[in-house]
Symmetry: C4
Subunit: 204 residues, 4 copies
Amino acid sequence: MIHIESDLGEENHMGKSRLEAFSDGVIAIIITIMVLELKVPQGDQLSHISATFPVFLSYVMSFIYVGIYWNNHHHLFHAVGRVNGAILWSNLHLLFWLSIVPFVTAWMGENYHSAWPAALYGFVLMMSGTAYYILTRALIAFHGMDSKIARAVGADFKGKISVLIYLIAIALAFVHTWISIALYVTVAMIWVVPDRRIERVLGD
Amino acid sequence: MIHIESDLGEENHMGKSRLEAFSDGVIAIIITIMVLELKVPQGDQLSHISATFPVFLSYVMSFIYVGIYWNNHHHLFHAVGRVNGAILWSNLHLLFWLSIVPFVTAWMGENYHSAWPAALYGFVLMMSGTAYYILTRALIAFHGMDSKIARAVGADFKGKISVLIYLIAIALAFVHTWISIALYVTVAMIWVVPDRRIERVLGD
Amino acid sequence: MIHIESDLGEENHMGKSRLEAFSDGVIAIIITIMVLELKVPQGDQLSHISATFPVFLSYVMSFIYVGIYWNNHHHLFHAVGRVNGAILWSNLHLLFWLSIVPFVTAWMGENYHSAWPAALYGFVLMMSGTAYYILTRALIAFHGMDSKIARAVGADFKGKISVLIYLIAIALAFVHTWISIALYVTVAMIWVVPDRRIERVLGD
Amino acid sequence: MIHIESDLGEENHMGKSRLEAFSDGVIAIIITIMVLELKVPQGDQLSHISATFPVFLSYVMSFIYVGIYWNNHHHLFHAVGRVNGAILWSNLHLLFWLSIVPFVTAWMGENYHSAWPAALYGFVLMMSGTAYYILTRALIAFHGMDSKIARAVGADFKGKISVLIYLIAIALAFVHTWISIALYVTVAMIWVVPDRRIERVLGD
């Protein structure tokens, strides 16, 4: 390996295009690779395929979650000009937690009556949300508190309520897994349904 | 996660380039990942490889189908300027159904004499066709009825006849799977063979 | 699905950027997915890892072959302006045969003393070469015999000699597989080693 | 295949955009595919998931390593204008060794008490580092000793110390694997932590 002068230093500002292209690539692979966890059934009857239905549903939910992150990532970097080393690593940190999603999706799908898989699924979602938060802080630290990106991120009501719901869902997985799953669906709906009406209902 | 002001609102118009790049990525992965379903035979004889031939043929057909979608997606967004939240989600919905194609391809390839795998294959094709239709409606709703994209989509004869043939093929899978498969090949040919001559024959 | 007016017609000329991006994506996935065929050994000794060495060597050769195709594809489209439906499908046809390479690589690597795997490997290389030839014909038919691309493709000495060597290698696989493998290595060297000196030696 | 006149000759200078896009694609696939090596546990208890923890930790380390290469590749080509055949092949050579990382990561993760897996992991890291060095030499040979890229690469203290540490780690794997792993973590930290302070401590 070779040393590029001050490659993580604040004064070396890069364009965002390769970061966007790399993130798009990783997220596209994550969202598609989950389908590989859908094992082709050994028989040829409806009962064989319906046995894969819980895994299928957990795949649908994770597809929507990864889709939400791609949409939000898309919007977030729309407001961004240049990037530095801290932003590159915060972004890789987010991609790391997202890349764990297919693993926990498969584990929960195959064991949807069990507490630990449902709790771990929520933990990975919570870490992804936290990684996204750290990424926005790195972006604001670099662009300044009165930048376009700082105004766009704002008070971040949805991000904070999501992490709170994840925490509750992880705890309640040990009561009943369906409570956790219902809470994960709720958070997904908060993000998919168009913003302002939901925000008015929940936010004041 | 962080809230980007009105991130799904109609007034937040984004460029199409990242949507195209992300869709290209997902479709490239789907089309390539299908080959992973081709299990390497355990023996070294011609008979061992010829046993994988039905899976191979179902892979060829799905490759052509996904290729058709990529071509059409390419053409569709050629006529598109900007995108909104409804278009992003309609596009993810299409990618979702396409990402199921490798799964049903493998199931049908391994059970090509059985009704349910052939019917489910047709169902996923039909849902993909429907998702494509919804995407065009979202595009027309955003760009207006007299936009370039609305004129390009037009009466959509091929789209409607395809969904009709899929429905017939799903029903006839329970009579004989080869009828269904012949109908899937027919739909693929309608889309691959250059347009106008076929359209003249079928369309009036 | 929706009908885009004359979507495969000659008068609908598209840019080449999405075709390049899609091809890059598919080739990147093919070249990387081959490593998945390298099964992690069950033991922890040198003997366990050295047992995977034949598969590893077949992976190295296929990596170089796919790398050659990416390089040549890169150069070919460098001389290209716009594309039509025939070019899109010729390109998908090439990507189809390349996507089979990981499958035959794994089969040959696991059975390198057997004739059929070595012959099938050569067959897929030959079909890839033929698909590349068809793609160049589609490009020349669209851009004209005195276009930049027609001059760049030229007499195509290397392409023709490659297909001839593949044919000989397929036949000789039934005499001894190492003869075939030596011929595949020879073709790869013809393409990797800088052009003009080799061409002078072989071409006149 | 077709012969493009002097396709590897020095006089045929190409743009770097497709090389960057292809490299981004391959690296994105490598970093994501590693998660496939994380086998979903057969049971639903905490003990089942904690048994995968060593594999998980080796995955984290490899994720950081591949992330470092992506960052450095990003910076390296930032200073590059055009590319030639030697650069294309040097880059493919680097991508080859990086594509082996998921394989050795899984082997080491499953056998973290054994010498050979830890040594082979270090060998692949060392070959990746060497391939990166060859790539920088190809870039400098093409752009000249007083080019921007030559100045950016400089004396390459970090690259040389990394290869030295890898060599020591490979040897010490046969004493105790944890020594090797601690050394791999050390090299990763040298690259992740912002440059100048570390360099001041280690470099003079």
